[in-house]
Amino acid sequence: MGFIERFLHTLSEPRWGVHPDDRKRPAADAPLRLLPMPKRLYIPLQQHVGQPARSVVLVGQRVLKGQLIAEPQGRISAPVHASTSGTVFMIGDITAPHPSGLAFAAIGLEPDGIDASAESAVPADPFALPPAEITRLIAAAGIVGLGGATFPSAVKLALGQRSGVATLIVNGGECEPYLSCDDRVMRDAAPAVVDGVRLMMHAIGAREALVGIEANKPEAIVAMRKAAAPFAAIRICPVPARYPMGSDRQLIQTLTGKEVPSDCRAADVGVIVNNVSTANAVHRAVRLGEPLIRRIVTINGGAIWQPGNVMVPVGTLVSDLLAFAGVKSEPERLVMGGPMMGTVLPHASVPIVKGTAGILALNAEEIAESEPGACIRCGNCTRACPAGLLPLEMAARIRAGDLPGAEAFGLSDCIGCGCCAYICPAHLPLVQYFNHAKGELSTQERTRLRNDAAKRLAAERAGRLEREALEKSAAAARRKAERNAAKAAEAARASPAVPTTQHAEKNTAALVETSS
């Protein structure tokens, strides 16, 4: 590449983001493997954004593969299905794939090894169905965004349809280092992905679909181009390989030039983003009647013997997957997801969920952990931030305890991508600062709402007490009036002194009036 071309290339590159060593190969090139059915599965009830699902099975109950075991509750929720046939042996808590190491509810399933499927009806021609019917099928299959956000897909598609979205963006960016599950899906099942894209376009009523694939996945681009060739409405668009290209706002901006306003959703600017794996899941749900009960997971990292992509039933423990792929050395850190945004796992006995794109067993050299130093205000974080924020200013304020100050610098626009903390020469834990502040602020917000509710309740109580007091005094006055009237009547019977009675009656009337 000549100097001029390189210069032009540099100019055309987005100005945000970082370029971490991608370490996707050789895992991306290894053929897909199938995980043998583990001894036990722990299928969590909350594998999506929104309300957790509610179990509809009992301990001891036998279930079939694909059978509904937990139903959605609330507007934003998703059902959960049995990943294989077997017996429910527990409904209770298991450690969540969450840095806190706290527990959440899951259904324990003991596979019977038969893997018998539940019956399911498949529409003959889904394109003849009304869009709402496709959305219903997707909702019933429990499909959530598989890129990591795990937002229920049916809710998103319905929203897209309501807001008249014309463009479906299919996210094949997979910008996180190490991960290659989306790459594998596109290489192995390009026709299925394209079919899923068409089904989603039908469900939304979108006119076109843009599939953004990072330029570092040439095989996937070729496969997808071939599969999408018959459909003019689907365009395959290679995008520069730069983290975080797979973040929806960045991908939308790169592909369409549109900028999603910070208080809006993508649908408000006429765009919906879905992951390629989600498209594949939609295809399987609508064409084959298979709910989302398994997914491709990248197992990678320096501590793994055989890195690669594995088809894993939802609910498999990470330890089972590690045993399958082989562990070379005790990993320094276990991460679910990519190295940039993934969550650290407290231990390996946590279940793999619908949104698990990868399990990384990293060794010390890969983490490159070092003690944080002082911020030298070099501004690398500012240049790397894809949201145009000033991470150094926000972190300084959070450190000083000034959370509103950090908010004024745009903390709510931070997407937590980790570019700033990756690039920081002082190795400051910037993402942790921001996550801490976001958590504190939402706790404060919850407290505020709670206090408002308390204020309302207190006011209501005061009102009630006042009302009760009034009623009491009114009742007392009435009784007194009745007594007086009775007395007066008696007195009247004793001596016919008319004016006195009249006077008493007037008094009573006045009393009743004032107290009512």
Partner: protein
């Protein structure tokens, strides 16, 4: 001598007249500050600050008699909001956000005396005479008024259980100059 006295007196009178006009022109009706502070207070009149109620506490805070940190249920958020409103500096490290707690009533000890129901500022305790009482989680502010009233110690404050969705990342601890340890 006379000129000096007269001119100063005249000057004083003129300036005083001007100030009088200004005072009338720029009159501020009422002390809107106290009202603004009352609106910011939790409003449950729980009495943990030691004042008769939130309005009284707000008045004292506006006067500067009570510190902005005197409201335990308001915590850090309220303290910093009040400090910002009053334009005074605040060292947030001295304010400990109390762990969110709610009252709970042990069913086997409760004798159904109804005393807690009467004192609860938010009507969060339900029950009737000789019936076991219960606390509505959403309505309880954790003020502890019922704890003091309960004759059998059935009412206690319990921390809210930690959940995955409410968990907050701890603040990173990046060392700088430590405060010196006290000599001797």
């Amino acid at each position: 001598m006379f000129a000096a006295v007269a001119s100063l007196a005249l000057l004083g009178a003129a300036l005083g007249f001007g100030l009088g006009i200004a005072a009338r022109r720029f009159a501020v009706e009422s002390d809107s500050l106290v009202d603004a502070l009352v609106a910011m207070m939790p409003g449950s009149n729980c009495g943990q600050c030691g004042q008769a109620g939130c309005a009284e506490a707000a008045r004292l805070i506006a006067e500067g008699t009570a510190p902005v940190t005197s409201c335990p249920p308001g915590g850090k958020a309220l303290a910093s909001a009040l400090a910002a409103k009053l334009g005074i500096p605040l060292d947030l490290s001295t304010v400990a956000d109390q762990e969110p707690r709610i009252a709970s009533i042990a069913e086997d000890i409760c004798i159904g005396c109804c005393r807690c129901i009467k004192v609860c500022p938010t009507d969060a305790v339900i029950g009737a005479a000789k019936q076991i009482h219960a606390v509505i989680r959403e309505a309880c502010t954790g003020c502890g008024a019922c704890i003091e009233r309960c004759p059998t110690e059935a009412a206690t404050l319990q921390p809210l259980p930690a959940t995955v969705s409410h968990w907050v990342w701890p603040k990173p601890d990046v060392p700088a100059y430590p405060a010196p340890a006290l000599a001797n």
